[in-house]
């Protein structure tokens, strides 16, 4: 029933194209995840320490992103995001930038991830015993130093389960970029399936690739979790 030769790495096999799409998915997921972490850290700190206006703005960001389907956000940011950004830049008298498909895709995933990271990190920072931060303040550490040396490392064990989950979500959310025509694994699969009409073969293969990514990620996450909790146990002993 399956014509496996269609998966070979050289034409007429589509294997190389699928792998290429998979690489794109990985780039999107890791780039978006990294941007999400940056936005999330800034957002969490802003929510905890910022002024009222800032807090409300961040609250709106996280609420809207978490209430609107990712697919809608992706359509919006992909088509309208660049335009809106360039209009803003023009208003500030900065020359427009040309945002390529990959950059737009990474930004889109990053902005979505950022909202969820904000909540995860905010919760984790709140879980850090306040005495530790106060002690650091008493030592006369600068706020930035406290963040880097105390708050971030201390909150890590609380943040890891949530952040790990976000990574798994990021890898799967990349598939939504197929809907705007960005050739990551899902679109490469659909193009291959549409051209060869061998839908089951290609969808099964792509499914196996996503599943492998999830399983490998989960193993790595478990290792990291074990290491962090062990270090935590030592620190508490």
């Amino acid at each position: 029933m399956f014509d496996i030769s269609l998966l070979s790495l050289t034409p007429p096999g589509w294997g190389a194209t699928l792998l290429d799409g998979f690489a794109n998915s990985l780039t999107l997921a890791s780039g978006g995840y990294a941007i999400g972490l940056l936005l999330g850290t800034a957002g969490a700190l802003g929510k905890l320490n910022g002024n009222a206006f800032f807090r409300e703005a961040l609250e709106t960001y996280t609420t809207v992103v978490r209430a609107v389907p990712e697919l809608v956000l992706i359509l919006f940011l992909y088509y309208a995001g660049t335009d809106a950004m360039n209009r803003l830049l023009a208003a500030l008298d900065i020359p427009a930038v040309d945002v390529g498909g990959l950059a737009a895709g990474i930004s889109v995933i990053g902005i979505v991830q950022g909202a969820y990271s904000t909540e995860v990190l905010r919760g984790a920072i709140l879980a850090v015993p306040y005495g530790q931060i106060e002690a650091a303040k008493a030592y006369g550490m600068s706020p930035l130093r406290i963040l880097w040396r105390i708050t971030l490392p201390a909150m890590l064990p609380f943040a890891i389960p949530g952040l790990a989950n976000l990574w798994l979500i990021a890898t799967k959310d990349t598939a939504l970029l197929a809907v705007v025509g960005f050739r990551e694994l899902a679109l490469a699969t659909r193009q291959a399936a549409g051209t060869t009409k061998d839908y089951m073969l290609f969808f099964t293969t792509a499914g196996a690739m996503y599943l492998a990514l999830t399983i490998v990620s989960s193993l790595v996450i478990k290792m990291v979790e074990r290491r962090v909790t062990r270090r935590l146990a030592v620190a508490h002993a």
Binding site: P12, P95, V97, V99, V180, Q191, A192, G194, K197
Partner: protein
């Protein structure tokens, strides 16, 4: 390296390039990111090929444009053009009065008819009466959608809209729809494939230029008269020097330009 400099390098590397004067000749050409043979479809190595790919290369060479291919989903291709994500649409897009309200077009570069295709075992013709009670499939945001809405909506059992034509073809083969309305050249190509053996052309939709438009053209933003001039000159030039005919011969055994 300082952090800010490093970030700038990374941003450039992933595609946030500043638009400067030197890149003015670079234009982003887009077609639908879906298999649409024989005009634009990815081959097994992921490279795009077909009549329109060759046509684009010929036009870009003639017009001395540095064309970068940026495929995008068909249903978002006009918003992508107006929001400057892309600069040219070369995606078998028909010049219609409706679209001309939003974007501009070059002169036409080919002209297809609206074909109605159905399974061989059922007999019907391409009229509202023939399609009575049938489930008609077509591509979203196409001239066929508007045409069917206007002429067939009252007689068919339903109109099913697909993101891409290859999905509609797949469902025709699977028997989930009874007929497809689409551009004749794309359908003829499909009927030649093993999957397409099930079906045949039942006829052509009766003329209605207000919906079916005036041939296929290159889509551009309004006001880009200079670019439009370059493209029109290039189309004329490749038709005059035989490049157009040579490309057409590779994919068709007749002239697709129309009259």
């Amino acid at each position: 390296m300082r952090l800010s400099a490093r970030i700038a390098v990374i941003l450039c590397a992933i595609g946030f390039a500043p638009l400067n004067a030197a890149s003015a000749e670079t234009v982003k050409v887009s077609w639908a990111a879906e298999p649409y043979p024989p005009f634009t479809s990815p081959d097994a190595s992921g490279k795009w090929q077909g009549w329109e790919v060759d046509f684009m290369n010929a036009v870009c060479t003639k017009a001395k444009l540095d064309c970068v291919i940026t495929p995008i989903a068909w249903d978002g291709i006009i918003p992508a053009l107006t929001s400057k994500k892309i600069d040219l649409i070369i995606s078998s897009m028909t010049i219609t009065d409706e679209r001309l309200k939003t974007i501009d077009f070059s002169d036409k570069y080919y002209d297809a008819r609206a074909a109605i295709v159905g399974p061989r075992e059922t007999k019907f013709d391409a009229t509202p009466k023939g399609l009575k009670g049938k489930l008609l499939g077509l591509q979203v945001a196409s001239i066929h959608q508007r045409y069917a809405q206007k002429h067939f909506a009252d007689s068919v059992a339903g109109i099913k809209e697909y993101q891409t034509l290859d999905e509609a073809q797949q469902d025709l083969v699977a028997g989930r729809i009874d007929a497809i309305q689409a551009d004749s050249f794309a359908m003829v190509d499909f009927l030649k494939t093993p999957a397409g053996a099930c079906c045949e052309i039942k006829g052509y939709a009766a003329k209605d230029e207000s919906v079916l438009g005036h041939g296929v053209g290159v889509g551009l933003r309004k006001g880009e008269t200079e670019l439009k001039g370059k493209i029109n000159t290039a189309i004329k030039a490749i038709r005059a020097d035989g490049t157009y005919q040579a490309i057409t011969k590779k994919y068709f055994d007749f002239d697709i330009y129309g009259d």
